[in-house]
Every structure is written in C-alpha cells, then in structure tokens.
Symmetry: C2
Subunit: 362 residues, 2 copies
Amino acid sequence: MEAIGITRLCHRNLLPTSNPSLTSTFISSFVIGRTSSHNYNRNFPKFLVSATMESSFKPEEARVPVELPLPAPPVTKFKIALCQLSVTTDKERNIVHAQRAIEDAADKGAQLILLPEIWNSPYSNDSFPVYAEDIDAGGDASPSTRMLSEVSRSRKITIIGGSIPERSGDKLYNSCCVFGKDGKLLAKHRKIHLFDIDIPGKMTFKESRTLTAGERPTIVDTEVGRIGIGICYDIRFQELAAIYAARGAHLLCYPGAFNMTTGPLHWELLQRARAADCQLYVATCSPARDGGSSYVAWGHSTLVGPFGEVLMTTEHEETTLVAEIDYSVIEQRRTYLPFQKQRRGDLYQLVDVERLTCKGAK
Amino acid sequence: MEAIGITRLCHRNLLPTSNPSLTSTFISSFVIGRTSSHNYNRNFPKFLVSATMESSFKPEEARVPVELPLPAPPVTKFKIALCQLSVTTDKERNIVHAQRAIEDAADKGAQLILLPEIWNSPYSNDSFPVYAEDIDAGGDASPSTRMLSEVSRSRKITIIGGSIPERSGDKLYNSCCVFGKDGKLLAKHRKIHLFDIDIPGKMTFKESRTLTAGERPTIVDTEVGRIGIGICYDIRFQELAAIYAARGAHLLCYPGAFNMTTGPLHWELLQRARAADCQLYVATCSPARDGGSSYVAWGHSTLVGPFGEVLMTTEHEETTLVAEIDYSVIEQRRTYLPFQKQRRGDLYQLVDVERLTCKGAK
C-alpha cells in the first residue's frame, strides 16, 4: 500500500492517568493545523507501530478521571412510576393533580416517581416567569416543591420531581428537584443545555430568551440507587450520560417534553442510545399531549433497560406507568458485552471537568 | 432547599483551549477519592455560581483539539451502493463474486461502493489465518485488494473495501482498504475494537484469540467526501464516531457482521444513534446471512441520514442497494438542531488523542 507519512510521532500520554501519583501532567503541542493533504490516514513505519502497541489500549484512561465502579445499590429490584400528567394553565390544579398521581403510584407500590418536564406551568417563554418559584426560599415561595417534599415524606418514596420554572435572584432556570423518602431535598438539577432550535415551518423555540442554563451535572445517591439527572434537551448530549455512567449511575432520569417534530424523530432513539451505550437504565417522563397548547408535547414516557430495550412506554394520553427495575441486569449486560472495559484510552478520552477540577466532586 | 457544600471550587480551565497561544497547561488535582457522602449534587454558594457563569459554556472546547469545520465536499449529491454479499469457503469465488457486484453497482451509477466485513473468508478464528493476505506486499500476496484496486480504476469509482483478514509480519488484523477512483490505496483501517463478547447460550466470540487490534482511527478524503471508517464492533464506541465528526467527516462507513443476537438488539440502533448524535451520514454493509455457517450474520445493510433516519435498508438476503446521498442535508440539519455548537466544554471534553499528540495529524 501507499505509505503516507506523518511529521512526528509523539505517543507519550499527555492526560491524567489512573495512577494517583500522577498529580500533575504537562500538556503541550495540542493545536493541529490544517494541512493541504487530502489524506488523513496515518501509516506509521512498522517499527513505530510495534513500539507503541505495547503501551496502547489503556481502557481505564478513556474516562478522565478514571471511571468509578458501579456501586452496590440499596435495593436491587423496585418499582418506578412515570406520571405522564396533563398540564393546564391553573397552577394550583396542576399541583393537586400531580400529588394525586404520585399518591396513586405509591399505592401501586412505586418506590420511585418520575414527573414530567414543566408540569406546573404551560411550556412557554411567556409562562416561565409567571409560574416560576423560588425553590431555595421554599415554603409559600415554592408550593410545587413543598408538595413534593410532603408527599415523599408521607409516602416514604423517592421523587424525581420533573421540572418547574425556578426563580433565583434575577434569573430563571428549568429545574428538577429530587426528594428522598424523608422529604428532604437531595439535589436540584438546572437544565444544562437550553432548548434552542429552529426547524422552519415545524418547530422553533428558544429557551435562552428567558432561561439561564445550569452550571453542573447532577448525580445523586437515593434510596433506590445512584441517579443521573438530565432535562429534555440534555439527553441530546451523549457526553453528559457518559460522565454519569463513569460516576457510577444505575439509572438516568430525563423529564422531557419533546415536540411533534423531534419526538417521532429522536425521543425513543436517544433514550435507547444512552441506555445501550452506557449499559444502564434510562427513564423519561413527558407531559401528556395537549393539542390546544402553544407547545404540543409528544408524550411517550418510557423506561429503557441496559441493552437499550424498551421495557415500558405509552402513547400521548395522560397515564401513569408502573414497572420494575432490576439493577442486577446491569452487571449481567456489562459482563456479556464488556465494552465499558474495552475502550481505547490511547485514542480518545472523555474528560469530566467537574471531577477533574474540583477536589471532592464525584 | 438544603445547601450541600463542596470542599473547593477550582473552576479554571485545565485543558487545552482553542487559543493557539495556550500551548501548555498545567493539570493538577484530578484524582477524586470516594467520600462517605451519599449526595453528589453540588450547590455552590450563589456568588460562586454567578462568578463562574460568565466564563462557562465554551462549546468550542468540548472537542480537544478544537472541532474542524465541515469541509466543502467534492460532490454534493452522489450514489452509494451497499453490496450485501454471500460469502463462501471458496476465496476465488468470493473475489470474482464481489467484483461482479461492484461492477453491477457501478453500472447503476454508484460512485461509492461499500463492501461487507470479512467478505473473502468465512468469519471464524480458524479461517482468518488461512484466508489472510499481505496487503502491504500487494500483487499475488493480496488478490482481494488487487481486484478492488483494478475495478476502482477501471470503473473510476471509490471503494470502501469492506474488510479482509490481513497478515502483517506475525500479526493478523481485520482490515478495511479504501481505494480512490484511480485505483490507488487511500487508506487502510485496522479494526480498533476487537469483538470479544460472551452472551451465554446466545453468542460467544473472541477475535482477540487470533487478531491484533489496530492502532489508530482512519479518516480519509475521497472523491466523494471525507469518510471515517470503523469495522463492526467499532460502531459501539461513540467516541470514535465523535472524533471523526470533529475531524470534519461527512460520512461514516462501517462494514459489519452483527450476529443473530446483537443484530436485532443493536445494529440499527447504533447506526441511527451515531448518525443523529454526529449529524452526518452513516452507511453499513453486512455479509448476507448464511444459516449454515458457524457465525450467522444478521444482514440488514443500511444507509442512515443525518437526522438518524433510515434512508435505505434491506433484509438478510444477498442484494445490492443503491441510494443517493445529499451532503447539503448535513448543514441543514445542523442549522435546525445546532447542538454541535451547544456543547458544554466547561463540563465535558472529548479528547482526540492522535490529533492532540501528533503534530500534523488531522
């Protein structure tokens, strides 16, 4: 074959390794100019290939910092409920309605409840400032999360509280609160990737007109396992799911309101892809469809298993789905298809910036 | 809400940026110990959140080195053919058979031909050493690639030559050769991720018993666009597709022979996921199914568009599919759904190690 040269081979590893003694590493020579060549295949002289092979692979370095082992979950099997709720312009009704759905699901044995994205308000830039609550202030300033806290404590269940518009100072966020079975707020995720899309004649929406993006990933240990949180558009970014998996997540929960264009195109595909690539459970919950609203949700709340298989899904009407999650399946799938341990850290590395830069972060 | 502290906030960016002057950066403090805390949500004091927000997002830093712009392809529209070939134990027959399929596809106007994984040999560890060819030596030492070179030159077409077992010194590889329309070898991809899986009672195969893994990604500029190459199991690793996309690929080609277990589970899902996440074309080509062989291929060669939509697919029988690719759709999709520009380089970064470490690499 034609041998195509490359100017320099510098194969030393320039990123942090799993070796704890390597607390500092010097990075150099990372900016690669475009060349006039139209061929990008590298055919190193054979002796160089042989020289590098001994030191290659490094699957443990494909995640920076190194991937954490899957933790033993507090429960192996439990029931999850996806409450696909109808949402109206009446906030008080929405809160009472959500509470009833949660209590019904708890009556059916659900230990984990997932609510939809923006369930206390219409999904519109006009509504967000009107329906927003000051979650940090709590009490009367946040009747939606007060209800979630109370019902999680009274029913001894874990709630991934979908999302509501949050007011914090002069900013608005799209925020998901997680409550433990003692009613305490365990975590709050602010949507990281704002939904700004423009498909002419089909769907245009710009959350960034009113909302501010969150600043960090959210992974939380609950009574039903370690859960990574994303809100709707966050699911498009495979890196977020991958860093949750590397932090030892058992389950990813995405409250989401895909629309009538992106829903049929991508909603199930993305859920299945995240689950199959990360080999963990993915649960999503959408508002029920309301054809009369300005933003029409696709519905189709779904639970996906760690082979990317749809375990439970619904159409677009209001309903609550209850199904069992069995975490022992995760380890089984990862044994069958061990690609979590077959990555090529010598070729690509996914950096979790928060874990890399913040001591004590996880 | 409960405010949960974090020991230290160190938000300075510790990885290379798109700023060429930043040719060295000191990395520290990357090893994160497990703590006894069961809550991993970070709620920084508000003033810190505000302070960091100004410097956050950095979508251009989500790919290290920085993502290259999509190059203008030499052609916008062209026809691709996927030759889903039957494979026998008769190597000479396999070569003649492949040549006829390629010529038929060229007669139908195809400018790019994609062949299956391991099309000149049965797919088995016993066969690989017997059917392997010395591609670098060429001529009589590699009748399969000699045929590909001759037919690409005589018909003035580009061929992604599926894969064949390659002998190089004392090693065997699973290798894909790319020929330009002048018959010259443009690139050779050696399967990077070897197929070692064990699903009891369903599918067990360990390529690593006989094969050696390739050492680098392969992206090549052809007369029909910039193409990233993966072979079969390589498709499971989203990072490879993502670094090809960041190098400006228009199309990913995966010769592959998924089996009767992983085929129905994951073959189409992975193709669609890679296409939708990277917003480019994905083409795959499998051998036709032979129920009598030790390894039974799933078939289902497919072309997927940059919305993750299946444009063309087949069942398991021998056939050649011809369809049009329109690269202008890629830019349109990326304008509609601009998530390639919405990544959070402040939260995660995907490092292309070869481009990072090798001056002149692309």
